[in-house]
Symmetry: C2
Subunit: 143 residues, 2 copies
């Protein structure tokens, strides 16, 4: 078994669907490139069969909206002095500003640099479907 | 400290210069995407200050030439039944076939699909410099 001792201060992102760990790391954590990080991939999980885990020895304000978009089953534990002080679940955000582009090539957000994409959650159908606040097209979020 | 318990059967790639771990993983190991892997980044090292480590719970014939090109200080330990059965150092290869392209855009290897790039080690100058067996241009290997 590949086990990792606890970190003293930092963030543990757990219950990541196997295969998403690296994507999350590249999307969210590449700015924290100087902190010690452990990325476990394809380790056993009772709940998921296989999972990825990220342990980062650095505390920062992690964007739960982005995490929720990528994988809404993810849990985030904040660790201080080797104790879990905060447990959060990444939920699918109801409203999203920026983060991804509208699927409609004729939407103003894809031509006007000042029009920031804005979406409302439309439906959860395997992956999250969002309706554009400008052109009302449905964009299926894909990582 | 982020420590990882030993693996029972697999490969440990150690003494990776901090920052190269992810590159090595992407270049060499993305085919072994189903095996449990731990990628430690920016962990403390007596020898290097900071280092990356990869632990893979899968035994396969790892290409030491590619590893040597990326980072010649890397060590590779083969683990079986929780014991290290083989210790290897990744050296800079004297001769390389394929793996990277000749820097000369007019070299035949860059236009003829059947001409496979072939190099001999010319000099070690920070990064490895190779002379092309076809056109004799010097290519500095960069990851």
């Amino acid at each position: 078994m590949l086990e990792v001792k606890g970190i003293q201060n930092g963030i543990v992102i757990d219950h990541i669907k196997a295969g998403n760990g690296l994507k999350i790391f590249n999307k969210l954590l590449s700015e924290h490139i100087d902190s010690p990080v452990v990325l476990l991939m394809n380790v056993d999980s009772k709940a998921l069969g296989k999972k990825d885990i990220i342990k980062l020895a650095d505390v920062f304000d992690i964007d739960l909206d982005i995490l929720g978009l990528i994988d809404h089953n993810i849990t985030v534990n904040i660790v201080r002095d080797s104790k879990i002080t905060d447990k959060r679940k990444a939920n699918i955000p109801e409203e999203v500003t920026g983060l991804f582009n509208c699927i409609n090539p004729r939407c103003i957000t894809n031509s006007d640099a000042y029009a920031v994409p804005k979406f409302k959650l439309y439906e959860m159908n395997g992956s999250a479907e969002y309706i554009c606040s400008y052109c009302e097209e449905i964009t299926k979020y894909r990582l």
